[in-house]
């Protein structure tokens, strides 16, 4: 009985594991990159489909009671995150010629999945680490840049700090309650005990560090810039999504109250404002996206202030919209002679005349990230702020919205470069980019579906 539940409930994880094993065999057998990319895609897609099917079938089980459980909403979040990994794999072809990228990516995804089902602190920690470790390597793998090593080291050290803070917080929680269950965090949220409070703050700060919230954001621009495009996309979308979804799971049904309320409102607010302001001055596309993702992390953590009932819905929709459009921008980014060239914002000048499709895709992505209707980013923002108003924090919601206004300018600047500036006279690169095109079409189709039928997604959660 138990073994069957383990098999079914962890089917997405098993499929990923199967993919990893196959990839390793392929790597040992010395088969080419084409096969390993295909295996990676197939296993992620299968895992996503499995999670979605289980969720739509209303499957709920706890194969390892108290440590790992699945429920329809969690499975759906898992399926969504896994589906977002597909475009990342598709666009990796340009930057990674060896088979190691899919292996590391799948390993990291295994951790992401684990986090979405964790019921105890050790499982959550395991998921967090399994997710993070391959990413450190992935950042380093961008051989083309000398900064990659620096970026990876920075990311590693700060990631380690986050881990330490998380563990310290968890051990304090264990000391206060004698339990390792995930619920102790939600219980401690309302506690007035100093030890519990300190523990909660440490855990929250660990999440802030992982999610790159000001003032714990400094690693993000360097890491994003140092990594290669698909890895940056992975960090900006999937790692962020996994962290915030885990935070939502951690908060459970608890309502945030003062004094934690201020911590959870002010730092994300500062993040929104600072991320949006600093993004205005970036010369590099990936640095700009890094600051933009800092602002978006602000909105996402803002969601924790909202009504507990609607939190997962709001965050999941936002992650989906933000993820799809961010990936769209990365997938549509035109290739160039060198990675450094590709990354320069100036090189986007006049893009519409060189590559109209790319320009339109990046333009749509920018407008959606700025939260302008009719693109899905707007609906995500609407959901989050509606939820915050529903929890009675109208002032914070207004401040957050005004903060989001600050971001409009730098997104418009990208559009201005692409459509309104004279050509940058960049030597065109005529490599075949069929896979990246496939990734952008996939994201575009998803984004259009989400913006025309947002009710469909919302009804699922």
């Amino acid at each position: 009985m138990i073994s069957q539940a383990v098999l079914t409930a962890m089917l997405p994880e098993h499929l990923l594991l199967l993919g990893i094993v196959l990839l390793l065999i392929l790597a040992i057998a010395g088969h080419g990159q084409r096969a390993s990319l295909f295996v990676g895609l197939a296993s992620v897609a299968a895992a996503a489909v499995a999670a979605a099917c289980l969720s739509l079938g209303g499957y709920a089980a706890a194969p390892f009671a108290g440590h790992f459980s699945v429920d329809p909403a969690g499975l759906l979040a898992k399926a969504m995150v896994l589906a977002l990994a597909l475009p990342v794999l598709l666009m990796s072809r340009d930057d990674f010629s060896d088979g190691e990228f899919p292996i590391l990516l799948l390993s990291s995804l295994y951790g992401v999945c684990l986090m979405q089902s964790a019921d105890s602190m050790p499982t959550l920690f395991l998921g967090l680490e399994i997710m993070s470790l391959p990413v450190y390597v992935l950042v380093l793998l961008a051989h083309r840049r000398p900064q990659s090593a620096e970026a990876a080291l920075k990311y590693l050290v700060l990631g380690g700090t986050a881990t330490a803070m998380f563990l310290m917080g968890v051990s304090l929680l264990y000391g206060a309650s004698g339990s390792m269950s995930l619920t102790i965090f939600a219980n401690a949220l309302g506690s007035t005990d100093n030890m519990a409070r300190a523990a909660v703050v440490l855990v929250i700060l660990a999440f802030f560090l992982k999610g790159a919230i000001v003032p714990f954001h400094a690693w993000a621009p360097d890491a994003y810039e140092g990594a290669s495009v698909p890895v940056t996309a992975y960090m900006a979308v999937l790692v962020k999504a996994a962290v915030i979804l885990a935070a939502v799971r951690l908060f459970g049904q608890a309502k945030v109250s003062s004094p934690l309320l201020e911590l959870l409102a002010v730092l994300p607010l500062v993040s929104i404002a600072w991320g949006n302001l600093a993004a205005m001055r970036q010369p590099s596309f990936r640095r700009m996206i890094a600051y933009s993702s800092i602002a978006h992390a602000g909105y996402l953590f803002f969601a924790l202030l909202g009504e507990p009932a609607g939190r997962l819905q709001a965050v999941a929709f936002y992650v989906l919209a933000y993820g799809l459009l961010n990936l769209l921008a990365f997938a549509a980014l035109p290739p160039a002679q060198s990675d450094r060239q590709r990354d320069r914002l100036e090189n986007l000048k006049g893009l519409f005349h060189r590559a109209p499709f790319s320009a339109l895709m990046i333009g749509i992505a920018m407008l959606s990230l700025a939260g302008i209707p009719p693109f899905p980013g707007f609906i995500g923002k609407f959901l989050i702020f509606r939820n915050v108003v529903a929890a009675g924090h109208t002032t914070y919601a207004v401040l957050g919205l005004v903060g989001s206004y600050l971001g409009i300018y730098f997104y418009l600047r990208v559009i201005q470069f692409m459509f309104m500036s004279p050509d940058a006279s960049v030597a065109a690169d005529h490599r075949s980019r069929r896979l990246a095109l496939g990734a952008s079409l996939l994201c575009l189709a998803g984004a259009m579906w989400v913006s025309v039928f947002p009710g469909w997604v919302i009804a699922l959660f």
Binding site: F352, L367, I372, P373, P374, F378, F382, F385, R386, V389, A390, T394, A397, V398, L401, V402, S404, Y405, I408, Y409, L412, I415, Q416, F419, M420, P454, G455, I458, A459
Partner: protein, 512 residues
């Protein structure tokens, strides 16, 4: 039901047109132009047919479509025609083909993208007028910015980047606060009455305390007043107008600015009646300041586009005055004035565009005696100038006269009761008519008469296409001036419902 289907077709036709452009070949500019014009003409014909089918004796929505969109929040795709929007929808559809035809010779760069933007903006404007659900309205309202941003930024003049970013940031700031107000409004409707809905019809039932109403009105009014624009939120307008290509200016002046006044009439004032009454003196003063200040600024401009841009501020001040007078005559005058200004300003901007295409300068001082050089052009120009001034028999007269009449009718009883502010404001507003005549006639005098001079000579006079465009506008201007009865009947019930909604207090029942 058939009409409802046609109304949906009218709304989505431009989107279909944009899709057709997307798949059409790249280098066939002539084909692109013809296709766009054909789609726009079809849209106008269908709208005109709907207009004739519109029953002026029925209050409320006609040809309604209502489909659940985001069921969980009570958001519906709900569109329909009513007395509020029927004239504006007709005007938008009428200006569509003229904008397209007017840009035939002016736009030679990225033609396909340009007409795709015209389609998108037409779609968004139609949607904003037709939407009967606040969420839907907001989506269309914001969507409008994107094609306009690109239109000014790509095909604009020298300082186009500055102008277009200023335009976007100004309007987006109003919108973001309106979004906060929308969220709060819907949430408080939900908590007070248990109804989760974005429908206008449900939202006007919300009973909110005065302070909440005031905050929400302030947020909505900021957004709408930026669009109108009302002094002191008008500074984006001259820049946007001057830098925009002709088609952009025509759309801006013709339709986009009406979004602001329409928003006030349909949403801002009826949603928050008590706050509106409390703030009427302030809003009315701002409206009159807009009339006079806009006219004064128009009087001293050297750039012909700027003259018309500032005159728009002045003319739309009348609309606000009429809406705030809460007198049936004044409200109806405001509606007519919206349409009239849409036609006249569109015509004037088209004419400025035509002379700009020939001479490539907008300096008033560079021109003179065009009556000798371009006789046909000058006749059309003079007619539109007089319409703008408000000469009887033109639409400008009907609108401004009714607004002023309404303002006096509403002000006199208040003056008798001891509140003379409305009366003073109405008197000052009349001076706007005089100033209007002054700046427009100064403009026409320098432009058309005196010693003949122009930067490029010889000048070809208007060709057949241009004559047709202007002829149609002038026919519409006179039709509205001579026979305002029919359109006024169509909007009369809406004017009455507006007056009733705004003058009925809607504070919470339990309030002392």
């Amino acid at each position: 039901m058939f009409e409802a289907g046609v109304l949906n077709v009218v709304l989505f036709l431009p989107l279909l047109g944009a899709a057709l452009l997307l798949v059409s070949p790249d280098s066939h500019d002539a084909y692109t132009r013809r296709l766009t014009l054909a789609v726009m003409i079809v849209q106008f014909v269908l709208t005109a047919w709907l207009y004739t089918r519109f029953d002026s004796h029925v209050a409320g929505l006609q040809f309604e479509t209502r489909l659940p969109w985001i069921a969980a929040w009570g958001v519906n795709y709900q569109i329909g025609l009513d007395g509020y929007n029927v004239l504006l929808v007709l005007m938008t559809a009428f200006l569509g083909p003229l904008v397209v035809a007017g840009a035939f010779s002016a736009i030679t760069k990225d033609v396909k993208l340009f007409y795709a933007m015209v389609f998108l903006i037409q779609f968004a404007m139609m949607g904003a007028f037709l939407a009967q659900d606040l969420f839907l309205f907001y989506v269309f309202w914001e969507t409008m910015l994107i094609p306009m941003f690109l239109m000014i930024g790509i095909w604009g003049g020298e300082r186009r980047i500055y102008a277009t970013i200023k335009f976007f940031l100004y309007t987006a700031f109003g919108s973001i606060l309106m979004l906060a107000a929308v969220i709060y409004l819907v949430y408080s409707l939900q908590t007070t009455s248990g109804v989760i809905s974005f429908a206008f019809a449900d939202l006007v039932k919300a009973r909110l305390p005065l302070d909440v109403q005031s905050w929400l009105l302030a947020a909505f009014a900021l957004s709408f007043a930026i669009k109108v624009p009302m002094v002191p939120l008008h500074t984006w307008l001259p820049d946007a107008h001057v830098e925009a290509p002709t088609a952009g200016s025509v759309i801006l002046a013709g339709v986009l600015l009406k979004m602001g006044t329409y928003g006030f009439m349909k949403l801002g004032f009826p949603l928050f009646p008590d706050a509106t009454l409390a703030f009427t003196p302030v809003l009315m003063t701002l409206a009159v300041v807009s009339i006079v200040y806009g006219a004064c600024l128009a009087l001293v401009q050297d750039d012909i586009k700027k003259i018309i841009a500032y005159s728009s501020i002045s003319h739309l001040g009348y609309v606000m005055l009429g809406l705030l007078s809460l007198d049936i005559v004044g409200i109806q005058g405001a509606v007519i004035q919206m349409v009239s200004h849409g036609l006249v300003a569109a015509g004037l901007f088209l004419m400025v565009g035509m002379i700009y295409e020939r001479c490539h300068t907008r300096e008033l001082a560079a021109y003179g005696g065009l009556a000798k050089l371009l006789p046909v052009y000058s006749v059309f120009f003079m007619i539109l100038t007089l319409a703008s001034v408000g000469l009887p028999t033109t639409s400008g007269f009907t609108g401004e006269f009714l607004v002023l009449l309404g303002a006096f009718k509403a002000a006199w009883p208040q003056h008798v009761l001891g509140n003379s502010l409305p009366l003073v404001l109405a008197v000052v507003a009349v001076s706007g008519v005089v100033l209007g005549a002054l700046y427009m006639l100064r403009f026409a005098l320098g432009f058309l008469f005196g010693a003949a001079k122009a930067p490029h000579q010889p000048l070809p006079d208007l060709n057949g296409r241009e004559k047709t465009i202007l002829g149609l506008i002038i026919v519409a201007v006179f039709a509205l001036g001579l026979f305002p009865d029919e359109p006024m009947r169509k909007s009369e019930l809406a004017a009455r419902s507006y007056k009733q909604l705004v003058s009925t207090p809607r504070l919470p029942r339990s309030a002392p």
